[in-house]
Symmetry: C2
Subunit: 437 residues, 2 copies
């Protein structure tokens, strides 16, 4: 077990690449490049492969062509392709041309696939067996291969003469079955694979649902082009799932604490303006009833309570549904089910909270009318909150948008507008009925 307090006392080269990357992530960029250059090339590359995209980009801008070349040669292909992808378009070609031809071809092949697709994460270094070999021949081949090519998973894939995936063989069978039998006789032909274009979020859901430890990746002609392992998926899966937290409040999922402030600003401010627009909507509702508030100022005191409670209840509903969607646990019929459950909850929560608000309104302001209006508005707004907590994410999904995107902004627009309207309209009706206005 690595103990965090020990890490800081050790020289950089004694650390695990992932821990070196942590250090490089936090220090000055110039220093980070110096540190990298001082490390053995293999280790430097491994650490570099662990950096966040933004940091890697920053450091590469400070490196010379030969430093970059050394890094790229020593990186695993998928990481090297990512790095080349981060370079500005003009520099990309220049750097690629310094690399040995086979590596260049491999990287160009990988660069075709988007970062967040199966092709963008897969490792293109794998062992593919030919079906007509005998087990003895296969073992002989394996013995002569460098250790790095090992897949760490106890399965090997079988391809035909056109490189199409046709089967899977367990290492166990390879070692223990009759050495004269052919791969085609012992392989399992029922092999699961994923298309190279599959989105990484969908890929992560596959891995979770079926507990795969590894999956072969195939192109549109069913040719084996790479392997994805569960350990590659782990970080992807968590990043994708937690992105929703940020998307909900209007933030691109890429933001981190260490993201430079000017980038954060450009990502957050537009959404604050969107929120401002929706806030003016709510303000316009209040504006409709300005004369009511002028007559009955205590309303202004209870206004934020009615709206705020709706916002909180709606967020509870919204997060449950967005989380279920992120975990891949929503199926077609669930929208209706959710709507019914949440409507019921909204009603009960509304009555439970509305009662308290009503009583407090009555006692605090010595006005049973205020209590009645606040309590009733609360019940209605909790219902509105529950329904919009369901309808917003399912509606976004129906429109093929990310259900999390700015959903908390949309939700609080509904709960503010509805809360203000219910509360102030009921108050205005009551004032009119009692002849005050």
């Amino acid at each position: 077990m690595t103990e965090p307090d020990r890490i800081e006392d050790q020289p950089l080269h004694a650390l695990h690449p992932a821990d070196i990357a942590d250090e490089l992530q936090r220090c000055d960029a110039e220093d980070a490049v110096q540190e990298l250059v001082g490390l053995p090339p293999k280790l430097a590359a491994s650490a570099f492969g662990e950096l966040e995209a933004e940091r890697a980009e920053e450091l590469m801008a400070l490196m010379g062509e030969s430093q970059l070349k050394t890094l790229l040669i020593n990186l695993p292909h998928p990481d090297a392709a990512d790095m080349v992808g981060y370079l500005p378009a003009d520099r990309r070609e220049e750097v690629l041309n310094t690399l040995p031809a086979p590596l260049q071809a491999d990287l160009r092949g990988l660069l075709v696939y988007p970062d967040d697709s199966a092709g963008g994460i897969m490792n293109d270094h794998f062992i593919a067996l030919r079906a007509d070999l005998t087990l003895a021949q296969v073992l002989g081949q394996l013995r002569s291969r460098p250790v790095e090519d090992e897949q760490e998973v106890s399965y090997l894939y079988v391809t035909d003469t056109r490189r199409r995936l046709v089967g899977i063989v367990s290492i166990r069978d390879l070692v223990f079955k009759n050495p004269d039998s052919r791969v085609s006789e012992i392989m399992n032909r029922d092999v699961q694979s994923v298309p190279v274009t599959m989105d990484q979020e969908a890929l992560a859901l596959e891995f979770e649902h079926y507990h795969y430890l590894g999956l072969p990746v195939v192109d549109d002609r069913h040719r084996l082009v790479g392997i994805v392992k569960a350990s590659d998926i782990l970080v992807v899966a968590k990043e994708e799932a937690t992105e929703d937290m940020q998307l909900m409040v209007g933030l691109s999922g890429e933001e981190r604490l260490l993201t430079p402030w000017y980038r954060s600003l450009s990502r957050r401010l537009p959404w604050l303006y969107v929120n401002l627009g929706t806030a003016f909507l709510a303000a316009m509702v209040v504006n409709l009833f300005e004369s009511t508030i002028a007559t009955w100022t205590a309303l202004a005191v209870f206004l934020p309570i009615v709206a705020g409670q709706g916002g909180n209840a709606g967020m509870q509903t919204l997060t449950v549904i967005i989380r279920d969607m992120a975990l891949g646990e929503i199926t077609p019929g669930d929208g209706r089910r959710a709507l019914m459950k949440e409507a019921l909850l909204g009603l009960i929560n509304g009555l439970a909270v509305g009662l308290v608000v009503g009583i407090v309104g009555w006692l605090w302001k010595d006005s049973p009318e205020l209590g009645l209006v606040a309590g009733a508005a609360m019940v209605l707004n909790q219902l509105a909150a529950a329904l919009s907590g369901v309808l917003i994410p399912f509606g976004m999904k129906r429109l093929n948008l990310d259900p999390a995107l700015a959903s908390s902004i949309f939700l609080t627009t509904v709960t503010d507008v509805a809360g203000f309207f219910f509360f102030l309209a009921l108050a205005a009706l009551l004032l009119r009925a009692t002849g005050v206005q």
Copy 2:
């Protein structure tokens, strides 16, 4: 690739256990038990092991002892132990006693560890090699073992006579090195392991950080007690990470769309009451300035804008930090760094948004004073939002609480109270200065 639209047309027994579980999760409980009983025992157990805890509990309550026994015998040990753990205490003993003695002992051993610890997720079925065996002997042993014992990962663990973990051997070496050499000669003694008591969230961070495909689990005497694989961690990691989304708005992380409404109610309502308490705090601030609002009713229109913008900006900061914490990317010095960055962002966002609000306030209500007050309050509240978005999660962490817990409720309390106060106090000052009040 499994295609979702095809799943529904197939008979249950033709599906993958994970897909059968999806069906069992959604149908009537009585029907689900009938379906389970109709499946081949192995398949029924595999599907059962994929159910959500709440559903499994519900179905077990409807099953007889003999049905339960068949299930438990056919389940992998960690799943079987989980199931026994879900049973009410009195029934637990009864059911355990129906099982064969060795299985009983294994399950009792696993039941000692909390569900959410390494011991709770690990598989206790693994191959442990003795260091003094020759490779030929090991291969002979492996050949005679049933296929189910395979670890799917290409490493085997080595233990001493006291079952303590002493090394690791790759299958590759086992197969290709001289069959007469001993395990002790080829094993790697530098083997990473995790303690059986380790929390699953920390365990997931280990797996992500170092990209492990599997890790051995040891007890307090360093005895090998189980194995955890990356594929076991995947679901855990995502659930733990996305729990924060729910915790933030006041929801225990266990809630799902399919959670029965009465359970949802008991988890949500208490937090709605907490939120109500904080809303009354904000209302008391408004109440302090009731006479100001009576004099200048337009203030009531801008009140929700100032507070709401603060809430949104604060949530942006809060989610970035809580997400970074969930992804394990926060180190000790980061609190100060975050505070400085967010204060700067809060100031710039405040000026950018405050300017617009100020101009709108001026033009809409034909009152430069309203614009001035609203704009200035906005700047101050954006700063307060940014600071509390940092201080709340870091403060909770310092107090050894979950940083996400109800943090959005605490945050909006700050932004409401501060927003109302800045806005109304500035307005009251201006009124007094201009001699209106």
